[in-house]
């Protein structure tokens, strides 16, 4: 069994890094800051891998993986039952998560060594990265619901710092603020949810809480009989916790912060908005999954439909975006939607599996995007093109990631997505259909991005200095290659041997006939994208050749092109994508603005009461007494 003494080091080392760099970084460490910050995370990663190896290889005595609490420090005792402890919980998903978080974090740290070089606040950047890694690891490992909440807020704060890193850009500051406020709003749900659940279970300890709320006992009867508006306290608690998770995981309609958050440095997007913070919501639901599964279908239905809707909506919007990072942001939201609805469809293992594989290919996509943006100095797809010759390695990596996210075998995304669709098929056919359609769309928009960036006509910016400097420094290449290997092979792990809802290993089921439909749809999506975006920009060069012998062919092609353009641009883009984006921008954002305006108006109106006359004050004082007296003496007695 892994020993607490070195598990504690996994989160504490990045914290030490943060303290060192934060205190002395700017003055004494300077250029060395990156290496120092990275080495702290490197040791953490090694420890995390060691713990995972120990946990999965040794601790299988009774045929299943147990949930253990190797460390429990009592901190604040609120009442005999409720105490806030600093504890560490080890179970398959927390072990998996520490591996994912440390690994991705290490790669992002390494990548940033070259990428962020020359920034004036280089040391501060690494201090923030270390702080974020610490918070995320703490969140993943915490065995006390309140401890989870503390780290949850810390993650929010450190991501605020990272998104707003370029604080001299007004857009970055606005984005950081938006992310902070929206997630903070959702955290409110989480907090009230914690209050409800823990008060009825009379414990904050996650392990005990799950036991008490899933096995018959006084606490369970209590929480299911107490009800508000006809819904039991248990359901309220779980739904509110889910709202908190939905805020961090950018589920509809709380997703509005995610696209804007792309204002942060690109490696930060790879870390926060691909592999770690945004999956915290999924992780939270998974952490309490036994309670969700036991509480009856209603709450899981909410999770299911919110997840499915987010997956579909985000995929449609992704088709209409032209900013490379925004496409990736919406794609992240869509993939997290997959993980959420998988949980809602009782596909616990599938969801965690997708979380695992997604971390690799999405981080890879963001890091590639970082390389591309550095080369062309623009986020817009129209400024890119024919980059495959300039950036051969990035091209290969990006292609692998695209194939993985599209679910083409044998790349990793194929396996996890297939598991999710299988779970959806067994649970809800409508959601299955949505998932299937979305997977086709995913392939389409990813390859639209791929072809517009790496194929087509070279643009002025990209071709300005061919061969001027090498593609990327070694510190950027290495993470790309490692992530590419992960994106390629992470799916081959027999995941259900390790991570299941009850800890009992299940044999991995092989590839079935069932996989044909999603793969076929993905291929259609890729073909469509290739047809539209490879050709469209190449047409000028080929025009001459087409005029000679292939007139008929070219004409015919042109005709189909128009049809495709009509279908995609007129129907998908204008008919569905634009309204979806419009609703997103005006109604969802508008509602949030409206709330703020109303509050300000009321505050302005109420000011009139404060007249400055003592007579008025005593009048209100007296009215208060009369009001209370009337209310209570005549209504209640």
């Amino acid at each position: 069994m892994p020993n607490a003494s070195y598990i504690v080091l996994i989160p504490l080392l990045p914290l030490a890094g943060f303290a060192l760099l934060g205190l002395f970084g700017r003055r004494y460490i300077k250029g060395f800051a990156g290496v120092l910050g990275t080495s702290f995370v490197l040791v953490s990663t090694a420890l995390a891998l060691y713990v995972a190896w120990q946990y999965f290889s040794i601790s299988l005595p009774q045929g299943h993986f147990k949930q253990t609490v190797p460390l429990n420090l009592n901190w604040l005792t609120f009442s005999p039952g409720l105490s806030i402890d600093m504890s560490i919980i080890l179970d398959p998903i927390s072990v998996m998560m520490i591996v994912v978080v440390t690994l991705i974090s290490l790669l992002v740290h390494t990548f940033s060594l070259g990428y962020m070089k020359g920034e004036t606040r280089y040391a501060t950047y690494y201090a923030f990265l270390n702080l974020f890694t610490f918070s995320m690891l703490g969140l993943v490992l915490s065995g006390n619901l309140f401890e989870t909440y503390i780290f949850w807020e810390l993650v929010g704060c450190s991501s605020f710092l990272l998104i707003g890193f370029y604080f001299d850009r007004p857009t970055a500051v606005a984005a950081a603020k938006k992310a902070f406020i929206v997630t903070r709003f959702a955290d409110l749900g989480f907090l009230v949810g914690i209050l409800i659940l823990s008060f009825h279970a009379d414990t904050l300890d996650i392990h005990t809480l799950i036991q008490r709320l899933t096995q018959p006992g006084p606490q369970l009867t209590n929480i299911t009989t107490a009800s508000f508006l006809g819904i039991s306290a248990l359901s309220w608690g779980l739904v509110l916790v889910f709202v908190g998770g939905a805020g961090k995981s950018a589920m509809f309609p709380l997703h509005i912060w995610l696209p804007d958050a792309m204002e942060g440095p690109t490696p930060v997007s790879a870390l926060i908005h691909a592999a770690t913070m945004v999956v915290a919501g999924v992780y939270l639901v998974a952490r309490l999954y036994p309670v969700y599964a036991h509480a009856g279908p209603a709450v899981l239905q909410v999770v299911l439909y919110v997840g499915a809707l987010s997956a579909l909506l985000a995929a449609i919007i992704a088709c209409t975006q032209t900013d490379i990072k925004r496409v990736l942001a919406y794609s992240t939201m869509s993939q997290i939607g997959y993980m959420m609805f998988a949980l809602g469809a009782h596909g616990y293992t599938a969801s965690m599996f997708h979380l695992f594989t997604h971390a690799f290919f999405k981080a890879l996509l963001f890091l590639c995007a970082g390389v591309i943006i550095h080369r062309v100095h623009s986020n817009e797809m129209k400024d890119m093109g024919a980059l495959r010759k300039l950036l051969p390695l990035t091209h290969a990596c990006f292609l692998i990631a695209c194939l993985a996210i599209s679910g083409i075998p044998p790349f990793s995304g194929f396996f996890s997505k297939e598991d999710i669709l299988l779970a959806a098929w067994n649970s809800n056919k409508l959601v299955y259909a949505v998932g299937l359609f979305t997977s086709g769309l995913t392939a389409f928009y990813m390859f639209r991005l791929y072809f517009s960036v790496f194929w087509g006509r070279p643009t002025h910016e990209a071709g300005a200095h061919p061969g001027h400097h090498p593609e990327t420094p070694f510190t950027e290449k290495l993470p790309l290659v490692i992530l590419a290997l992960g994106a390629l092979s992470a799916g081959w792990i027999p995941f259900s041997r390790f991570v299941t809802a009850d800890g009992k290993p299940e044999p991995a089921h092989g590839v079935s006939v069932f996989a044909i439909a999603p793969v076929a749809l993905a291929l259609i999506g890729i073909a469509t994208a290739a047809y539209l975006y490879r050709k469209e920009t190449e047409r000028p060069q080929r025009a001459a050749a087409a005029f000679k012998g292939f007139y008929q062919f070219a004409y015919h092609k042109f005709y189909i092109d128009e049809v495709y353009t009509f279908i995609t641009k007129k129907i998908i883009f204008n008919g569905i994508g634009r309204p979806a984006a419009w609703i997103d921008k005006n109604i969802v954002d508008g509602l949030m603005n409206l709330l703020a305006t109303i509050t300000a108006r009321i505050a302005a109106g109420i000011k009139g009461i404060q007249s400055g006359k003592v007579q008025d004050y005593t009048l209100y004082f007296f009215a208060g007494i009369v009001g209370l007296a009337v209310l209570f003496i005549y209504l209640y007695t």
């Binding site: 609120f78 004050y617 209370l628 209570f632 209640y636």
Partner: protein, 470 residues
Amino acid sequence: MWAGIILSLRQELMITILIFVLLVYKIGASEYKTNALLNGINLLLLANLIVGFFPCPDATSFSGMFHTNRLIVLEKNMLNLGTLLISLQAYDWLKSHRHVPEFYMLLLATLTGFFFMISSGNLLLFYLGLELSSIPLAALASFDLEKRQSSEGAMKFILSAAFSSALLLFGISLLYGATGTLGFDTIVQRLDGSAFQLFAFILILSGFAFKIAAVPFHLWTADVYEGSPVTVTAYLSVISKGAVFFIFIQLLYTVFKPIATSWYRILIILSVLSITVGNLFALRQNRLKRLLAFSSIAQSGFILAGVIGSSRIGEASVVYFILIYIFSNLGAFGVVSLISAQTGKETISDYRGLYANNPALSWVMAISLFSLAGIPPTAGFFGKFFLLMAGAGKGNYVFITIAALNMVISLYYYLKVVKAIFMDKPEQPIEKLVIPLLPNIAFIVCVAGTIITGLAGWIYDYIYSLSIGL
């Protein structure tokens, strides 16, 4: 016998002796150095605080009029600590003031009043204590002698206080008529929740609500807080409020226990109104003193949420929160007081870019505001959380949700100040200010308290072990 009485009354006696020392000094010395005097008084207050911590047996004297126990002693120590902090912070303002001994005599007189009020076992002594504290407070409010606003605030305070006292006294006499007694231990046996008694209770409650500035009994606060010197505003919104809460919760949990279902409902209404209205007012304020004053109305509402919990947890969390509140609110008021005394600047826009020249003051302000807003890892977060947790114990989730929602709203105006200090570009930045030794000590204690009270679990455990609950 006398030894026992002196021992149990020692905190009150200490303060009274201090007042007499000052009185004799004032009469005897025609010329004195303000600096030395301030140092001396602060040393005496420190000694008073330390002596207060010596253990003291639980006792009931004067046939039940006066009683004390370990929780009450702790509460008095908290008030002593708060008064010392305020006195340290007032250094800059007082060193150029001509009436230092008078200021301290008045201040300590109110403190004596609070002590007797907290220890009272009889409505009569309770009322005497309350009055002993409020009349000197009015004099303190007008202590910026040359400012018209200050006298105006004091005038409004004394008029409103008289009105509230009259109603309170009316309530007490009605209750006496209904039960035939003024002793806490006998009233509780004769309460049956009839409409007459309930009306008497509401009148008494309004007296409390006036003191803790709960909506709709809060309107006096705006002018009084605005007009008074910052030091007095801090004293009014922290020490005075804390003391009244201590006796309020004692009365509710012991004397008015039989009508708990009624006051429980009334308090929910008062709490929701206070939190919401306090926040809405604070949103629009541009003067820091007013912003802190209005936010303290909202904070009162949150404390009421803990009182509503009506359990041992409720009592413990209220005392715990008031301790945190003393540290964090006095930290914020201290910065405002210092800057106002040295530069006369008091609006948020004056604070733009404060960080550039005064990083230490900026951090004190930021940490205090974070704590008031309830952002982890400051103590305010734990305090608020415990209050809400205690309130949630009764299962009224709608109320808790409203309260939690207001926590988010309050973030806006607290962070607005932090943003102005750290992020905004200054037009006319405040130049580097010298922080004298005494205020500096106060700042260090406030910041340390704001952080440590939350992180050190034993503080809450200790308070919890002393609380009795309903």
